[in-house]
Amino acid sequence: MGSVPLRPELVRYAKEIADIAAEKGLDFFETRFEMVDFDTMQEIAAYGGFPQRYPHWRFGMEYERLRKQHVYGLGKIYEMVINNDPCYAYLLSDNALVDQKLVMAHVYAHCDFFKNNYWFSKTNRKMMDEMANHATRIRRHIDRYGYDRVERFIDICASLDNLIDPHQPFMQRGAPRDEPTRSVAPEREVERDIVRYKSKPYMEAWINPPAATSKQRQNLLAQREKKRHKHPPEPVRDVLQFMLENAPLEDWEADILSMIREEAYYFAPQGQTKIMNEGWATFWHSRLMTTRILKDDELITYADHHSGTVHMPPGQINPYKIGVELFRDIEERWNKGRFGKEYDECRSMEEKRKWDTKLGKGMEKVFEVRRIYNDVMFIDEFLTQDFVDRFRMYHYRYDPSTRRMVVVSRDYEKIKQQLLFMLTNHAQPYLYVLDGNYSNRGELYLGHKHHGVDLDIKYAVETLKNVQRIWRRPVHLQALINDEMVLFSYDGEQSQQQKIHADMPPPAHAV
């Protein structure tokens, strides 16, 4: 089909570049390059980088967008690389040789990032196979249950695929399901909690009257009972998991939901490290190209294409640009020792400008950063006042009077805060299962944790319908809208929303 073996010349370059990269300290999975033509590249890109995906119109939609973009010359895909062991990367067959080299250098750095960054450490490294398996499983369900039915269900799942908990792979939330019950019987634990005053045995009945003790006991037991019946025992962010375990799904439905959840988890770290990942790859391709790989006659083309990659139009954040500049900044600061208490407290600009302790730890530091940080931590820690000033960064917002986005300030704190907000949870709202048995009627109760921005009501109403289609019983969503707590509900037939007031039964947990 569209994939042809690499030309021997390119195989040689790949080897050469891999050697140089390894020499510089990059550590990557074995990387396999494949040469593809435009059509295949667009197909694979539409499938999120994988040659085998299950059939769904979403991919067709993405394909159309990419194709139009390419046909009208509005942008093209230079490279694509898959987090997998071995790493797969695609080269575009009609790119010039210098572009192929650039892409290779870029790709090796990406692979290094995939392999070593902590946030990728829990991803499935055989995702290529897993995706193909998913495709096979879904095709089988289609054969059994019909295209339309399966497609509709995939639509529902895909509409909920951000209801996961990206931190979940790194910790154990709640008790593992088959943990043995605690060793002390609940009755005895209750006995321990009852308040008794010290007394001589013959005074016991008067100081701690049996009636009062037994009342306390009953209260405590009732409290325990209530707690025990809370389901889930604590708010759950992985709504998909909760529904998988508790919704009345048919086997094939559960299978599809679990696959879509798994894929969402696989893609999550790429959203969490967009700036770092692209910055790291750009940092290395520019370093390797300009110091070791480029031939004289390739310089102009390289410079042209590299500047295209890091071009940042006004009002936009190009992750390649911000990322690479931050990495370079970190390298310089740690080479010259421009950090720490002394540097921060230095008030003389002149002194600061010349500051150089010849520390020489730049390289060490960037490798450390690529190992343990994600975008939020990266921006939080390394975006300095200096950096913001140097790159003339600003904060903009919507101006209702002109109905345009306008620059409001160059305030460092505000800019940083805004960037962090955009990056936190990949700009997705936080939603929790607050009650899986709301008012004891088997209804699902979700809650939105408000961080300053309201949910989009129109979308929330539609999405809630999809939650109901999985849960089958009525579902509710509590959200703060215009400073008022609102409860959205959908029972399978009717959507409604109402203000939350005191005499409505509360869910098992607060947000």
């Binding site: 890109a45 059994r144 003339r392 999809n466």
Partner: protein, 366 residues
């Protein structure tokens, strides 16, 4: 070359066109890519379907950018980033080509034209089963021996159980492949458009250009709504004649005008070829409104009312402005046929009026 994505792409196109999955129509988005043609910025429509997600509302909080700007300066565009895998930031240069289908769609949306629903008995849907694919479940009678064998062979080779010297292939349950079929629905909504044009001496090139444009858009819109569509062209002065499309738009004749001659011929065409119980019939008449006599105009209305209007979907009369003549025919129609629902008239004086005229013709969705 066949790509797997084509199937998904086809499916997406069909959803966008509203042929399947009506439930997704409400999530349609009309994005656009901005391009440049010469000095003009143009937009390339990019249709999408956005499945609902829980997401934040309008981000009035803005974003972060970089560059030379003073507080208060506008920045165009919102925060954005390149897609996964590194698409290069777009450069805004291009020219556009939109398919006729898409244009007709845009036309439909711009004008808010309702889709024309073929009437009950006019819709003949034929069903047909096509054996077009392979799947892993099915009745034994449809088993595909070759594919089953191949699957078994592949499995055995992968499992290392294949011995080239003693090639015994034993298919197991999972190897079986069956032919699968798809039921193809063929909607048969037939429609005929009869274009009639006055080519008497008073219709100049300018008028014909207007008619040509108007007819083109009528044609595009109706073709969008019907599968099998036929067009008939009639020109007339004092006599009427049926002509082909090219002649219709180029012919120039002289002489007087007798509109009834065209209607007579149209009636004859309908009677011989298009049984109104099976065909949606649209008639359009273009003229400068100058008829030879008042009595002929009245005769036309009588003929329409008695012999045609009860059977056809619509009669559209489009009067173009002309330097000559009275332009009175439109008034006669108003006088006599005002109570008829399927008569629509419009005046077109310049190209700009075509838009309104189309709107007048099709808003009712007949």
């Amino acid at each position: 070359m066949f790509l797997k994505i084509n199937k998904d792409h086809q499916r997406f196109r069909q959803i966008v066109k509203g042929k399947i999955r009506d439930d997704l129509r409400k999530f349609l988005t009309r994005g656009e890519l901005i391009g440049k043609e010469g000095k003009h910025l143009i937009s390339i429509p990019v249709r999408g379907i956005e499945l609902p997600h829980f997401r934040y509302g309008d981000n009035n909080d803005g974003g972060v950018g970089a560059g030379e700007a003073q507080a208060g300066d506008p920045v165009d565009g919102a925060e954005g980033d390149a897609g996964p895998g590194g698409t290069q930031p777009g450069q805004h240069i291009m020219e556009v080509e939109v398919s006729l289908d898409e244009l007709a769609d845009i036309l439909g949306e711009e004008l808010k034209l309702p889709r024309i629903k073929p009437k009950g008995s006019h819709t003949i849907t034929s069903e047909k089963d096509r054996y077009s694919g392979i799947r892993s479940t099915g009745p034994e009678s449809l088993r595909h021996f070759k594919r089953t064998f191949r699957a078994a062979l592949r499995r055995q080779i992968m499992a290392g159980a294949y011995d080239p010297d003693n090639p015994i292939i034993v298919p197991v349950r999972a190897d079986r492949r069956y032919r699968s079929w798809k039921t193809v629905l063929k909607p048969q909504s037939n429609a005929v458009i009869i274009y009639m044009m006055d080519v008497s001496g008073s219709m100049g090139d300018e008028q014909k250009e207007l008619v040509r444009l108007e007819a083109f858009w009528i044609d595009a819109w109706l073709r969008r709504n019907y599968e099998g569509i036929e067009s008939r062209y009639i020109v007339h002065d004092v006599r009427a004649a049926e002509v082909n499309r090219q002649t219709f738009f180029t012919v120039r004749e002289d002489g007087g005008t007798k509109i009834s001659s065209a209607f007579k011929l149209a009636r004859a065409v309908i009677e011989t070829h298009y049984n109104p119980s099976e065909w949606n019939i649209y008639m359009f008449h273009f003229s400068d409104g100058d008829n030879s006599s008042e009595s002929d105009s009245r005769e036309c209305c009588r003929m329409l009312k008695e012999a045609m209007l009860p059977y056809i979907n619509m009669f559209g009369y489009c009067q173009v402005a002309s330097a000559y003549g009275s332009g009175n025919f439109i008034n006669v129609i108003h006088e006599h046929l005002d109570d008829q629902e399927n008569v629509v008239t419009s005046r077109v004086n310049t190209k700009d009026d075509i838009y309104d005229s189309l709107k007048a013709f099709f808003t009712a969705g007949k």
